[in-house]
Structure formats: structure tokens, C-alpha cells
Amino acid sequence: MDSKASDRYVPAAARSVKILVLGPFAVGKTTYVRSVSEIRPMRTEERMTRAGELIDDLGDLREKTTTTVAMDFGRLTLAGDIVLYLFGAPGQPRFRGMVRSLMEGALGGLVLADTRRLDQSFEAIDLLEDARLPYTVAINTFDGAPAYGDAELRDALTLDPGTPLVLLDARDRASSVQGLVTLVSHILARPDLEPV
């Protein structure tokens, strides 16, 4: 990055939170991260070897070799020295192991979906439910893609009534941020967050 040092670093007293952006190939994850991020989205190379953590999923074993995958991420500094990191995680089933390890320490997930291929977002939804992470499903409204009503979409996605479903345009910042507002509101509404 060639940005100024003051733009590069986060506040010294910052606390970070991590949110994952999940969904199938070409659903708009990179676009979404770019829209929301205050820095030019960055990319790290992750090696997909987490053998041992995933022995409960023998179907993955073939893939656990030395494959590497690039992962996009962005950053958003909020008032009160809070820094939100967004990680766009690859959606293909063979990256399951990497996504699972990325879920450790995450606040929740935003699942992007395309109405032309809603079924392709099931993978992400299943992973989030397995990890018991709160999530919100966001339909990325592509030009020319069919529009459906809320009930139809929920039915097609077999969404739990308590799971938020929003429409957004991943190219638009305000619209994209709204997806995060919905997700964090949903996390706050969880009964296990009530004071004990």
C-alpha cells in the first residue's frame, strides 16, 4: 500500500471485531468488501492445511494437502476506537476448512446470495449454523436478476424466521453498510447476550 502512515494504522487503543462475508463464487464478496472498506482491500494467501481440527468431516480429507487460496479483507474504523475487519471467504466447498478456522473469533457472518442461484448459498449458511455463529442473509440485487418477495426467498433459502434477510447492492456503500447494521442488531437480539 502506498497510503500515508496515518491512514495505514489503526488507533493505538483500538479493539477489533471480525465479520465474515460468505457466499458462492462471483456473488459479490470482493465488491462488497471494497464498498465498505476504508482501505484498499488487501489480500493474504492462506494455506489450507488444518488437518486434525476437521476430523469430523472425512469428506474433506482429500483436499487437505497444500492448496493455497487468496483471501480478500477490508477494514472499517468506527467511533470509539473500534476497528471492524471484513473477511471475504471463498465459497467453494473445498475451502471449508479454511472458512471454519476463519470463523474462530468472528462476531458473525453476512451471507451474500444471488436470486438466480440461491441454492449456492446453502454451503455458507450450513457452515455458519454448524459454528453457531449468528448470520444475516443479504440478497445482492444484480441488474436483471429476478426479484422475489420476502416469503418466497425465505422459503427457497429455508431460513429460520429469526434470521434476518435483507436486499442490498454490494456496489453501494450505504446499502452494504446496512447489511452490517442488520447483522449486528441481530447479534444484539440474541437471548444469550442478556446480562446474567
Binding site: 479493539r15 477489533s16 492462506e46 468472528a106 444469550d192
Partner: protein, 119 residues
């Protein structure tokens, strides 16, 4: 509670229980963990890769993922180097916030929400 969620919570708890100081284990070093350099510790004796990490981190606070991206190092390699620097005290690691059933955590999440709403 299932085995998996137990493990997930356990990892985070043991990590935060140390007051943000990382346990010397790569498994607990998150991509979103923030790294703060201790400027008082000498850099003599550090290898070249560790030097590059410290040069970057001494100028300000960054996440593990950003260190990897800036230095164009794979995430796994970055975590190994950073873990060692945390062990030696050169870096202090602060794990990302994960809510527990505590009032304090709820207040923090409300701050996150307000921050997003004011964008």
C-alpha cells in the same frame, strides 16, 4: 452445548483471560488480532523476517492480516513469526472481541452498532 462450540468458546476465553496477551500458540492468533509493538525491547538478534514485522509494527497498530498483506507473506508464515515475537515480548497481541453473556459485552456491541449506523 456441542463439542464444537465448546472448543470455539474455550479458545477465545483462554486467550482473553490473559488480558489480551497472546498465549504462545499459532492456533489462538487470529487474522483480526491487533499487534502493538513494545518500543523498549531491542531488535538485536531478531532474524530478517522478524525485523520486517517489527519495523512495520513499531510505527503503529495493525492486524495480523494486514501485516501479512503489507509484507506479502502467507498468513500461516506471518502467524509463526508473530507468535514468536509475542513470546519474546516484542509484540502484544489483542484478540478480536467476541461477545459473551455479559453486560459489558452488550455495551460494546451497542457501540459497534452505533458506529455502523452513523456511517
Amino acid at each position: 452445548m456441542t463439542r464444537r462450540s465448546h472448543r470455539r468458546r474455550g479458545m477465545v476465553r483462554s486467550y482473553t483471560a490473559t488480558g489480551g496477551r497472546a498465549i504462545p500458540s499459532r492456533a489462538t492468533l487470529d487474522e483480526a488480532t491487533l499487534l502493538k509493538a513494545d518500543p523498549k525491547l531491542p531488535m538485536a538478534g531478531l532474524n530478517a523476517q522478524s525485523h520486517r514485522v517489527m519495523d512495520l509494527c513499531r510505527a503503529g497498530v495493525l492486524s495480523v492480516a494486514e501485516v501479512a498483506a503489507h509484507l506479502q507473506m502467507p498468513g500461516a508464515v506471518t502467524k509463526v513469526i508473530v507468535s514468536a515475537l509475542v513470546d519474546s515480548g516484542h509484540l502484544v497481541a489483542v484478540a478480536p472481541f467476541v461477545p459473551a453473556a455479559q453486560k459489558h459485552d452488550r455495551e460494546f456491541l451497542k457501540k459497534v452498532l452505533r458506529g455502523l449506523q452513523s456511517i
